[in-house]
Amino acid sequence: MEAGPSTGEGLSAEVRLRRPGFELDVTCAVRPGEVLAVLGPNGAGKSTLLGTLTGSVLPEHGRVALDGRVWLDTRRGVDLPTHRRRVGLLAQRPTLFPHLSVLENVAFGPRAGGDRARRARAIAREWLDRLDVAELAGRAPARLSGGQAQRVALARALAADPEVLLLDEPLSALDVDTAPAMRGLLHRVLGAQRTPCVLVTHDVLDAVVLADRVLVLDGGGVVERGETGRVLARPRTSFTARIAGLNLVRGTAVAEGVEVDGVTVRGGTAEPVEPGEPAAAVFAPSAVAVHRAAPEGSPRNVVEVRLLGLEPRGDTVRLRAETEAGDEAVPLTAEVTPAAVAELALKPGDRVFFAVKATEVAVHPLSVG
């Protein structure tokens, strides 16, 4: 558990705000190089929290400090304007300046920071190159695809040399084909960043791949927080369990999938991941089939588990279970029909086999803090 805002290294924020029908009360701290994912449904207060960090929202009570320097302190009347805060923002939409070329867009930050045009362009070229979009330098923003524009927007945010990086649903406006590539790029970039980073998202996958720690907001308050793997694997509130939803098996990337305690979970790679790197196999509970005896046949992953609980939810039943082999028990869930539960006569404490097809398993790289 992290403490409240401190005066130490990194970003610390404390926000209290009350609007008609809405309340927000959050404290958080992010260390240099750390990525904190803020998860929650629409209207949970994620954007308001981010707005307080950028300076576009003024809360009733709040304190924001970076490395001990105070950006906002409502008690002492300190409120730095956005352009003095040095926050790098990647929003849902790229919001590139339409009248400037890609190169000039990325050079905007360095120029605003006082660099001469030549030097600013050199910095811009470097970032475009680092994000594999150097060939777009001369293009107008209107002539970029959604994925290209978002890459350029990321380059622009980083080129300004921000002291805090804020990602506001950076993948939600991209289509399903471009989002994984961008997620992979962010994984690479954030791994090399030494600034604190706050990622606002409603997609648990973003948190899995990008964040070291998560903070779950609901109804304007923090319902859960902690290390990403722990919070998502063992959610303590039903709310987190609902948004987590997916099965998450953490291990090491190998050619066919993810290796955990000598066992390989086979799956397809969602984002590029190097063998030997930390990775997670992710699959939906509805993709899990339950058997009394070990099944054979098509390429599938089979594991023996002990049932911990059965929870009816609507017209399906959710089975909570835990693996028995290995050093550490891995929690897994399956979603089956009530008919299947009756047929197999399932009850807590039973030992059964969970099976999931390799095609239903996606392998994602994992953030290493």
Binding site: G55, H83, F97
Partner: protein, 272 residues
């Protein structure tokens, strides 16, 4: 017959939305009302006399004065009206809706009334005019300055309205992004806001210039019709029409030519 009216379409191109037949006749009437009088001007002119009429001292002096005052009025409109548009579009001030309505006043007011209002404000006995006269020895009415003021009064709203509309349509998203990149308000204004509304600014300028060039009512009331000082082209047309119709028509053609040039070169978007 109907095939003559129907425009040829490329195969595969989308069909236009059907236009109800009863609308075609009044639409034609409207076009006729706009175009026929202008064409009539051309029919009225005597080609042999035209060059002499266009280069007469009266016409040339009026043209020079018109261009000079209209350019000045456009300049004043940008310097004062531009900032007003930004304030109306971006700032949070009380009574902004009221102010926005006030800006439209010169657009809906008869220009003569505007001229009269200017005269009573800046005339020798007016509250401001008396001060200017006593303290600085300045007289505004019936001077070229009065012409510029009258034109600005009538034309500036075109600039304010079109620029403010463009600013509001552009939104503040890009400006907020510029701030996160470290750009202060002034830098953001110069490098983001202004370039983004530049097309609207240009078309607003063109409209303002055109309106200033054609100004008549406010000018004749506030500045009179003194040859060489306040008699702009529209005023010269009006004056000449009573003595030498051909000269009036020649000058009118000059105004038509400038108007066409404005439409072709700048293609102003509709105000609103």
């Amino acid at each position: 017959m109907s095939s003559v009216l129907r425009p040829r379409r490329r195969k595969g191109a989308e069909r236009p939305v059907g236009t109800p037949l009863p609308l075609w006749l009044p639409a034609g009437g409207a076009l006729a009302l706009i175009l026929l009088p202008v064409l009539g001007l051309f029919a009225r002119v005597d080609p042999a006399r035209l060059p002499a009429l266009l280069t007469s001292p009266a016409a040339l002096s009026a043209l020079r004065l018109s261009l000079r005052t209209a350019v000045l009025a456009t300049g004043v409109s940008v310097l004062l009206g531009g900032p007003l548009a930004v304030v109306l579009a971006r700032s949070r001030i009380p009574g902004k809706r009221l102010l926005r309505g006030a800006v439209l006043l010169p657009l809906v007011l008869p220009p003569v009334v505007g001229g009269l209002a200017l005269l009573y404000l800046l005339g020798r006995t007016g509250p401001v005019g008396a001060v200017l006269e006593q303290w600085f020895g300045l007289t505004v009415p019936y001077t070229t300055t009065a012409v510029v003021l009258a034109q600005t009064f009538v034309a500036m709203p075109f600039l304010v309205v079109s620029l403010e509309g463009a600013l509001r349509a552009a939104g503040t998203e890009h400006e907020r992004m510029a701030a996160t990149l470290g750009a202060g308000p002034w830098l953001t204004f110069r490098r983001v806001t202004l370039p983004m509304v530049l097309p609207a600014l240009v078309s607003g300028l063109v409209l303002t210039f055109a309106r200033a060039l054609g100004e008549f009512g406010a000018t004749i009331t506030f500045a009179g019709s003194l040859r060489g000082t306040t008699r702009t082209l529209p005023l010269a047309v009006y004056t000449e029409a009573q003595a030498d119709v051909d000269a009036a028509v020649a000058m009118s053609l000059l105004l038509v030519a400038i108007a066409l040039l404005v439409i072709v070169v700048a293609r102003p978007r509709a105000v609103g």
